[in-house]
């Protein structure tokens, strides 16, 4: 009986560092391109699925990719705002309805999305716990955000200050968590949703403070006449909206000038969508109206072009690794010349040597295949989360 596999196993275990290095090389060379393909496939699937359910997106002129990444995937840079009036103009066409989205604030790392309850219906998001926001100062958490932050209905969550170094910036606002969404496998899972007006309060457009018509401290008021009271900087704004102070919250300025980052535009039908796009081309409406699917399609095309270069690099690196491994085997064979000669002198056939080496290669190949399969199974299981982690910050 020729115990080729037994001897090969003993040899590989004795030289375990070398064996592990060879296996690691084989796993890397094999799993890397397959894993990269899997991640790209998942990226395309996730990005396109999200983009496909966002027919049109209205935002300020500038980078359409930034606009899509920020307001559809809640990642990247917040685009310049458009005014509420521009959204109203779209709705006045009776060709579509709009769902505003206001970005730019975070709560313990989770992006805060200011919107209306229409957003939940449009994205088919259901509540796992609690209810939707109904009044100023309430928030609803995505499932992932709730899990990460360890919060649920009844807890509170404070928005992060805009900048630690901007003393004139907006104050943090404490919101009351009233609901948690069911998991959707989309960027919505990682976000915190508030009413559009609550988002404006975070931004400082709306605020609440003590009634200046009744205050006794003269240092709180700079000027006062029959119609108007000008407060001094000493007046402290409320940082939490409660039952007792909710009525004191108010907004300054013309509502149509209030900012929004973007709006999902849902046309009545394809024709309506085409007509709306035409009006942005001829300049009769301000800002830019884009099809997120087209933007993401372009992004994926770019990524796939880059991947072609990466594939070539992987082939080159793979060839180099295979050559290096062949050299390792050749050198190992030379180092074992005396052992193999001894086997022959004892009485083993030349074929025994071939069988021994074949067994070693098969064991290394088998171990590498098992590792590659494990890596790919793990990757397959977590590829959706990995892609969300890559594209949603």
């Amino acid at each position: 009986m020729i115990d080729s596999f037994y001897l090969a196993t003993r040899y590989l275990l004795f030289h375990r560092v070398r064996s592990l290095t060879v296996v690691a090389c084989l796993v890397l060379v094999t799993a890397l391109p397959i894993g990269l393909d899997r991640i790209l496939e998942e990226s395309e699937q996730q990005l396109m699925a999200r983009a496909a359910t966002t027919p049109l997106l209205l935002g300020s002129k500038g980078s359409s990719l930034d606009l899509v990444m920020s307001t559809v995937y809640f990642g990247g840079q917040t685009p310049d705002p458009i005014s509420l009036a521009e959204i109203e103009r779209i709705e006045e066409t009776d060709l579509a309805y709009a769902i505003p989205i206001q970005m730019g604030f975070f709560a313990r790392g989770a992006p805060i999305v200011g919107t209306t309850v229409d957003y939940f219906d449009y994205r088919a998001l259901s509540l796992a716990k609690g209810r939707s926001f109904a009044i100023l100062g309430e928030s609803v958490l995505g499932s992932g955000a709730a899990r990460r932050l360890g919060l649920g209905p009844g807890d509170s969550l404070t928005s992060s200050p805009e900048s630690f170094f901007d003393l004139a910036g907006a104050y943090p606002l404490k919101t009351k968590v009233v609901g948690v969404l069911a998991p959707s496998g989309t960027p919505d899972d990682l976000a915190v949703f508030v009413d559009l007006k609550t988002a404006w309060v975070m931004q400082g457009i709306g605020h609440g403070h003590q009634d200046l018509t009744r205050v006794q401290d003269p240092t709180l008021v700079i000027d006062r006449d029959a119609n108007n009271v000008v407060a001094s900087a000493k007046v402290v704004e409320y940082q939490e909206i409660t039952e007792s102070n909710r009525d004191s919250f108010h907004f300054h300025g013309e509502p149509s000038s209030y900012p929004v980052s973007a709006a999902i535009i849902v046309p009545d039908d394809d024709r309506a969508g085409t007509l709306l796009l035409g009006r942005f081309v001829d300049g009769s409406l301000g800002g830019q109206l884009i099809r997120p699917r087209a933007i993401v399609g372009e992004l994926m095309n770019t990524i796939f072009r880059i991947k072609e270069v990466l594939d070539l690099a992987v082939v080159i690196v793979g060839t180099a690794a295979v050559l290096a491994l062949s050299l390792v085997f050749a050198l190992s064979f030379r180092l074992r010349e005396q052992e193999l000669q001894t086997n022959f002198e004892i009485g083993a056939s030349r074929g025994t040597t071939a069988r021994l080496l074949a067994a070693e290669i098969m064991l290394l190949g088998g171990a590498s295949t098992v590792c590659v399969v494990l890596v790919l199974v793990v990757l397959d299981r977590f590829s959706a989360a990995i892609v969300r982690g890559l594209f949603v910050t």
């Binding site: 009986m1 020729i2 115990d3 037994y6 001897l7 003993r10 040899y11 275990l13 004795f14 030289h15 005396q338 052992e339 001894t342 086997n343 022959f344 002198e345 004892i346 009485g347 083993a348 056939s349 025994t352």
Partner: protein, 246 residues
């Protein structure tokens, strides 16, 4: 055959050789490069006659380069003479095909190499069993494993069966090499400087162990040695000096 401790030289060819002895060599000529028969420098060995009885313990001595190790290679069939006959245990191995010679060697002969040639990645037990793992001519069963353990015990290695051979002393490694050669109960044991690197106390002990095992298995021993202190322990000593001079 000469008496014990008596020195002899390989004798002339004496008529037709019948091959009744344990080992019988007649008129062998061996060149390292057979294709170049014209060059005298290529000539390696010419041995007119050598007979070794079954169970006999023979030491081969002589200066380096006279062909002692070559003779062992011819006796094992690793090398094949260009002419002459080599008969071992009744089989003329110089007439066997390559695969038959290998099978004969691994099943009926034991070899102890000068360099020991242990397999460094195997432990003591697996080194003793090694010949069984590299051929289909031998089968490992419980009886073989039991004999390997028993041999290891006889050789004083019972507590070190699962130690890597790299962790053993030179004397212990020598005993592992002997264990490997003896496991298949060979009819002929060929040893090349088997005690070459050992101190005198260890040499004596190793030879005691070797002879005890050979006695038990009734095996023939042909040992190449430079150590003249050991010669009295052999039945016969064959001196290759004369071959070298011719």
């Amino acid at each position: 055959m000469l008496h014990p401790e008596e020195r002899s030289s390989p004798g002339p060819v004496d008529g037709d050789y019948t091959g009744n002895a344990g080992i019988a060599v007649s008129d062998i000529r061996f060149f390292y490069d057979a294709s170049d028969s014209s060059g005298a420098d290529r000539f390696s060995l010419h041995l007119p006659r050598l007979e070794i009885s079954p169970g006999e313990r023979v030491a081969i001595i002589g200066p380096s380069g006279c062909g002692k190790t070559t003779l062992l290679s011819l006796l094992t069939g690793i090398l094949v003479p260009q002419s002459g006959h080599v008969v071992v245990a009744g089989t003329e191995i110089s007439r066997l095909a390559d695969s038959e010679r290998r099978r004969f060697r691994i099943t009926r002969m034991g070899l102890v190499f000068q360099s020991l040639a242990l397999v460094e990645y195997l432990d003591v037990f697996d080194n003793i069993l090694h010949a069984y793992r590299i051929t289909s001519a031998l089968r490992i069963d419980e009886a073989v494993r039991s004999r390997a353990r028993s041999l290891a015990s006889d050789l004083g290695l019972e507590g070190k069966l699962h130690r890597p051979v790299g962790a053993l002393s030179q004397g212990e490694r020598q005993r592992v090499a002997i264990g490997r050669a003896l496991l298949s109960k060979p009819e002929v044991l060929l040893a090349d400087e088997a005690t070459g690197n050992l101190d005198p106390a260890n040499k004596g002990r190793i030879l005691d162990l070797l002879f005890a095992q050979l006695e038990r298995d009734r095996s023939t021993l042909v040992a190449v040695t430079h150590d003249h202190e050991l010669l009295p322990r052999f039945d016969r000593v064959v001196d290759f000096r004369e071959i070298c001079e011719t």
